[in-house]
Subunit: 411 residues, 4 copies
């Protein structure tokens, strides 16, 4: 139950941070990072909420957070962290060593997740613990997930739990038949008419129905349905999404406005992405990839006001590990029509770019929840490739919206 | 004399556009472009003032403009255009052919300029016509330039003349001794105490003293002096500058804010620029280059709020002609400190990127002049590497300023 | 009939150069180039046979060549040349203008080609003239093509005709059933058991059966069959192929040996190719593309001695026209295992890179034919992505082979 | 004294490897690598001598080598290794930990070097131990260095000592006055007429005079003087050099031959190098940099047969540590003159690329010494930017020379 809006400045003593995909690269990195922040082993570089525009907000302290999560894979959180460190050289060995005890403790808060309609590639990653839950009906899954969330809240003595989806991308579905109202959707779920609903949405329903905010950091469906948004309103809670904007798409959202502002015509924009982490392996399956490509490709036409020829590829190249390398080739022309070219190569470590955004979102959503904000948090659009509830894709304009919210929240 | 602010919507019938460096690459391209616009041979891609935010402004028609200028080099305008076309393949042969008669006519409006303190490299480019004016004192030069400007205005029956400096970059000077008031500066000029003043400033004084707006599209000193700004106010006219932002620096002004907004620490930013046009040849002289490098390098610290290690080189590579190629390597780190990299390669045709901005500026400044605006036009900062009168270097924020002005001017 | 090997030094007075795909980008560029060479309007940069190692060979003069060809598309040769010039800015307008009369004359030597098993995309390009030949059986096609070749030889009074396939890439086929001997294959053709044979092979058979050398500059099957090679031997003529090595693959064939020689382990090699000419449009069809990708990807394992993960994409990006842009990302590691990266971007004009190689091959093959060489000309491997009859893919080693042949041929 | 040529197959039991610059990045990495090879903790990737062409040679085992060296800086070898690991993330922490005892033992074999004519920047790096030797005359320095080398040989019971210069680049000098014969040079040294001789040459003289082979892996003068080569012959020993070819220049030596072989005209070749290790800091001094740039720039004209416009920069960018990033822009044209571009970005870890080459050279030189080869070992040219005694710069042709030697040496 949300803290009433009349006491927004009260600092929460304990907040749960519940990861869907808790042993994936993003969650593992965010977890190491949060532990490192709590132990004063890491600085705040990369954290948006540490910047001046947010200094007057009464944001939760890093020390307030307690981590748990759902996961479909076997292995331990420490395995995941060690693999990131050794395969991709992205985490400092000494730092990881200092966090081992905390990581082991957090691992005990991780419960079996859901594979519902996640596709064969994700199912192929499932650990033994997923066998027991394979035959569930949607309402059974939701019930089980809610028991896990409630147990986490109660056992850890938490004032609030924020649920964040950082699991692998589900296949793109067709959703023509989804009803618009929550009561109808609930009926569908009970009568097995919504058996096609993907895990990401079951998690969203489970969380929001308990009044827990839900953040969708992936391109999966999640809470992106009118009926689920209504549920959030009914339960007095909030949600945000969709698909964290960390690298190539972030660049698109700053470069495309430049071309538009200078009236330079983008004739074609080609983006080739290669990387080798587990997320990449899942995206190597065409049905999963389709959802991601769509998410990366949508913004150009919206920013430019016309549709240049675009091409987005995402390919799994094992040796790259967590290093997402993107080459973009932008072919444009200006006055008198001579073609010109901008190319960029982005070599970013995906998990390290995503993790601080996840922590920022959790902090910002927690404050919104504390303030009593309900439904979609559209001011968070700058964090997402597909900003739910916001038509704006220009990064600088999305930031204006976020800062306007921050000014208002600061009072 | 400016048209009174009470009649801003009256459309000017004839406007002079006076180029300093009238046979250089930028002026030649802008001239071909303007003629092509007047003859409906070219579209408006690349022209900022053709975009929706400016559609409600009563901007001058392209048909209203008449071109003239100062130049220190020999040769004809057609030579310059043909060289651009053949060396750099940047202009369409058929288009140039259709504009030959107009270009020849414009060439007859070009007068000998000034070499005052422009350095040995620029002096080495001077044509025979410059011999006669070599020994002038500053006041003589100003007087001569003003006679040219007045004659142009009168012979062509112009309502207003806008002066635009697109000449080669002068050497960077030390300006410690420049007085703050116009009357004192005028005294210095008359008593030969300001003999070190560069040509760009003599042009600025000549124009502003006649009530003609002055735009400095170069890194040269030009009107960037308190005394000269005072002159503009005294004569009821306006000016803007400094150094058109066309390529690599434009990208810096959109990418650096992205790093700042995401709290990613830029550790180093290296930019190597190579090109082979005449401007490049002048910049190959270290004293001229110093002025340009300073102009390209200043903004990063201002946007980021700290000073990463930076390196900017500009090198003359003959074979590239007008094709400015810039490679930038940005080394940054985010959460937990792992270094990452963004590289870009910009392959732009310098003159074709600059020319439409020059035409935009002329149109916007003409409206400001018609509206009775005086002194520095700070809302034009988005066009410049060193936006005079504006601390803001973030391109998106500079645009907000321009659009606010446009909204106000549209009424 | 071949000139007897006893008179190899006799210079041929007139040589036919017959293009399959005579109005495509490569043939059109080679044709303009040859005419320009004949009229002394072009230099010999880009022509391998103009280099010192070949100066002692009694190669044919450019003046000796007469051009004709087969084509399936409508339009004129001049159309094709003009499109190259205007879409891709790759040919000088003045040069083209000086060659118009000759191009028009050559156009009259172009006859309808064959669409046999060329796939739906190529068939979609066919002009009206192809309607009349649509229902041919393979032997009818061969007969018709041979009548065209003979008529060309006789009407132009040629001593020899060299046939060069520069048509679009055919779909990759399965060729399990092809017999090994020519007599058996001829029987198959007559009994319609080889109806799946693609046009490229029908052209090869038609030419070789007339004793005319055949060069396959494409990845299509062409003469790459034991039975067709036997035919060349039987008729005392020669052939070479397959798929001209002009850009990205050329770079692979010089860079991969470097990694091998330094014992650096290539972990992955990703190559993304984008371009927008007609060839690209054909390759946009997956069945045609498969043949090309295979051709571009085969060499790495052969040079390195192991198979790194590779990825080759070829995508049609309209705005690029004839400008093939390739981005390659090579991920490697050396001593002590730290991963490192080499990236390159190749921006080449495909037709202009291919055309001189075609002219070189014609000249070299003509000399081989004059010297009485029979069957596959394996010393030409450096020109091809898939060097028929040669296991060597290292460019520098392929060149040693070519130079050894040149030394021997120079006597 | 060299083992007589009659017993070349006898395996040496103990070989000394003496590094000049023993605590620099290259030596530190080569030392860690050699220890790792001896302890079977590292594979042989990156080692040229592990490739098949060299398998029949009776090369020394890695176990046979004992390390010592000269150094002018303070600090320990372990400090240097730890800095490489933490600043540049190039060495595995676990690997380093397993080698600590051996590294500490090797550190005890390191003696104060010489700063003779090494320039102010190198002198600025000198540790306290260099104070005692500051005032030496050249002959005193040579005598001291020889005492160190003899003591190392005797105390460690070595059959042979190979001296390798991997110290920082000395300033480029003028060497007009150097006599051609060793006896004359010795006279100069004794009479203080050769006081300008740099440390690299004093090391070379000290080593060769004791019959110890000398390898110059730097652009410094070292043994590149006729008189010093004569000394090697007189003492029956051998030497090789100059400046290890590890990255950008290696690429030039494979790419330039490709342009030459295809008769493509290189119009300009621009190479910008950035890196941040200690070597980079020394090269930030213009006098030191000049020697390096010359070394990187010489080969293009020699390979191409003409001199395109070239530009080579080397800049110290602190954040890059040992990661040498090079951007090369190659502007070329082929048939019919259209300009095209190849760009590459090389991101290599300098020390990790250099270290295995150093180990390879030591092994190959040791075999040459054992075989009784005297004077310059010209077959080693493929390892060097400035291959002493070899005009050939084409990497593939340099390799042919090396392999011919290997074939001969294998018998």
């Amino acid at each position: 139950m949300p803290i009433p809006p009349s006491t927004p400045s009260m600092s929460p003593s304990r907040i749960g941070l519940w990861f869907i995909g808790a042993r994936g690269g993003v969650a593992a990195t965010a977890t190491v990072g949060l532990v490192a922040l709590q132990k004063k082993l890491a600085g705040t570089t990369g954290l948006v909420t540490d910047l001046p525009p947010f200094s007057r907000l009464n944001l939760a302290d890093w020390a307030d957070f307690v981590i748990g999560g759902h996961e479909i894979r076997a292995g331990t959180l420490l395995d995941a962290v060690d693999r990131l460190r050794s395969d991709s050289r992205v985490l400092d060995a000494a730092l990881v060593d200092e966090c081992r005890a905390e990581l082991a403790a957090i691992d005990r808060n991780i419960r079996p997740g859901s594979l519902a309609n996640s596709g064969a590639t994700i199912a192929g990653l499932a650990g033994d613990s997923m066998r027991g839950v394979a035959a569930e009906r949607p309402t059974e899954t939701i019930g089980r997930l809610q028991r896990d969330l409630r147990a986490f809240r109660e056992e850890a003595g938490l004032n609030r739990v924020i649920v964040v989806n950082v699991a692998s991308t589900e296949p793109a579905h067709e959703y023509r038949e989804l009803p618009h109202g929550w009561e109808t959707l609930r009926g569908y779920l009970e009568s097995d008419q919504a058996n096609w609903l993907p895990a990401s949405s079951l998690y969203a329903i489970a969380a929001l129905d308990l009044g827990m905010p839900y953040i969708n950091f992936t391109p999966s469906l999640g809470s992106n349905a009118t009926a689920i948004d209504e549920l959030a309103h009914l339960r007095g809670t909030c949600h945000a999404g969709r698909d964290g904007k960390t690298g190539e798409t972030l660049l698109k959202s700053v470069l495309a406005p430049m071309f538009a502002a200078r009236n330079l015509e983008v004739m074609s924009w080609v983006g080739h992405n290669i990387f080798g982490n587990l997320d990449g392996q899942v995206l190597d399956d065409p049905v999963n990839k389709a959802a991601k490509v769509k998410s990366k490709d949508a913004l150009l036409g919206k920013i430019l006001g016309y549709d240049p020829q675009t091409l987005v590829t995402i390919e799994y190249i094992r040796s790259l590990g967590d290093w997402k390398t993107a080459w973009d080739h932008i072919h444009f022309r200006g006055f008198l029509g001579t073609p010109m070219t901008l190319q960029f190569t982005w070599q970013g470590c995906d998990s390290l770019l995503a993790a601080p955004l996840v922590l920022d979102l959790v902090r910002l959503v927690e404050l919104s929840a504390r303030r009593g904000e309900r439904g979609l948090l559209v001011h968070l659009g700058s964090f997402f490739k597909q900003p739910l509830g916001m038509e704006e894709h220009d990064f600088s304009r999305q930031l204006l919206r976020l800062r306007a919210w921050a000014d208002e929240a600061a009072g």
